[in-house]
């Protein structure tokens, strides 16, 4: 069970999401888990486009809580950063023997970086969607416990692409979206490892939450019963 000095499920999930994305990143993008405040456009050029993932907010769901357990609706912010140069046939443009007609054709065929980076960020979004929402990855890297899933309802929402910036030598664009999931957290705080049997035990009509590992998510409604220890 999680306590004051042991990670909670959302912390483990943060690490497994990062590891999951890294496992697919080679040659496609790079993953950063920290929030970068200042960076150079060349750091995200081409297939070095950046995916930043970090736990950004969450709510303990009061309706799905007991004293020791709570559903935790987690939100992970996913930020995308991409940069691209323009492209052209440099074998013609840099060839001193090229004729004006050949140069004109090569220049006319040159593609501006804003067009390329616009597609690059769409591609990146496609990649992340395919990884996160693949049913095979529905636990986002977290193992089952006693045959029960730890993650419920992974959803990608609120994708938003920002305005393309082309004032520099590279065209750049950022985008963001949110990954929301529900997990179950447990709370023992700073109490010792050996739990003391409570005099009052919270039960509900569907689950008796006495097994902290692998218990089903709490269902709303709880009855208080007393028992003689």
């Amino acid at each position: 069970m999680a306590g004051i000095d042991t990670p909670m499920v959302f912390e483990n999930l943060r690490d497994t999401i990062e590891a999951l994305l890294i496992s697919f990143s080679t040659g496609r993008f790079q993953v950063k888990s920290e929030q970068v405040q200042s960076y150079g456009a060349e750091e995200s050029e081409g297939t070095l486009r950046i995916v930043q993932v970090f736990y950004s907010d969450g709510d303990y769901n009061e309706a799905r809580s007991t004293r020791k357990f709570s559903a935790h609706d987690c939100t992970f912010e996913i930020n995308y950063i991409a940069s691209e140069p323009s492209t052209a046939d440099l074998s013609v443009i840099n060839n001193p023997l090229s004729t004006p007609a050949e140069l004109a054709t090569a220049i006319a065929a040159a593609t501006d970086g804003t067009r390329i980076v616009n597609k690059s960020i769409d591609t990146l979004r496609r990649m992340i969607s395919q990884i996160i929402l693949d049913p095979v990855n529905n636990q986002l890297g977290l193992p089952q416990i006693n045959g029960k899933n730890q993650v419920a309802n992974p959803r990608l929402t609120n994708f938003r692409k920002d305005q393309i910036n082309d004032t520099g030598i590279l065209a750049t664009v950022t985008a963001s979206e949110r990954l929301t999931v529900r997990v179950q957290e447990s709370f023992v705080g700073a109490t010792p490892a050996v739990a003391v049997q409570p005099a009052i035990e919270l039960t509900n009509e569907f689950n008796t939450l006495t097994d902290p590992d692998g218990a089903d998510p709490a269902i709303s409604g709880a009855d208080i019963t007393t028992s003689t220890p």
Binding site: S38, S86, A88, L90, A101, E102, A110, I169
Partner: protein, 130 residues
């Protein structure tokens, strides 16, 4: 003396092509190459390299190198216009002016045209093999 004409030529020539001028080669949309000024000397321009840039929507501080090439209009027999594609070659290292790199003036980045005293500033972008 027409002071404006004087500034547009002699004054701008000194400030742009003087000791800080670097060699520039332009190729226009018709494939015509311009590497000399009106006097037949090497075409030179003022080349500036660095600038911080901030993405207004994300609020992050994104550093993007912004190259600015300022040329005298009188030195050019054809002036780059907004909406045109040009090739621009210039040194990336001001201490090695003989080595030129190839950059691209996109049709999407209009040049700043200093009509009152005769200069034009273009903003090339990085260019790689397609």
């Amino acid at each position: 003396m027409d002071l404006r004409a004087h500034i547009a030529n002699a004054g701008t020539k000194l400030s742009i092509e003087g000791n800080f001028g670097l060699p520039v080669i332009l190729i226009d949309p018709d494939g015509v190459t311009y590497d000399t000024n009106e006097d037949g000397a090497q075409l030179k321009g003022q080349v500036l390299y660095d600038r911080d840039n901030e993405l207004p929507e994300s609020g992050d501080d994104l550093v993007v190198f912004e190259h600015r090439i300022t040329l005298r209009k009188k030195a050019l027999s054809r002036i780059p216009k907004a909406g045109e594609k040009w090739i621009v070659k210039y040194p990336l290292d001001s201490t090695d002016p003989s080595t030129l790199s190839t950059y691209f003036m996109s049709e999407k980045k209009a040049p700043i045209d200093g009509s009152s005293i005769g200069f034009i500033t273009i903003f090339p972008g990085k260019l790689i093999q397609s």
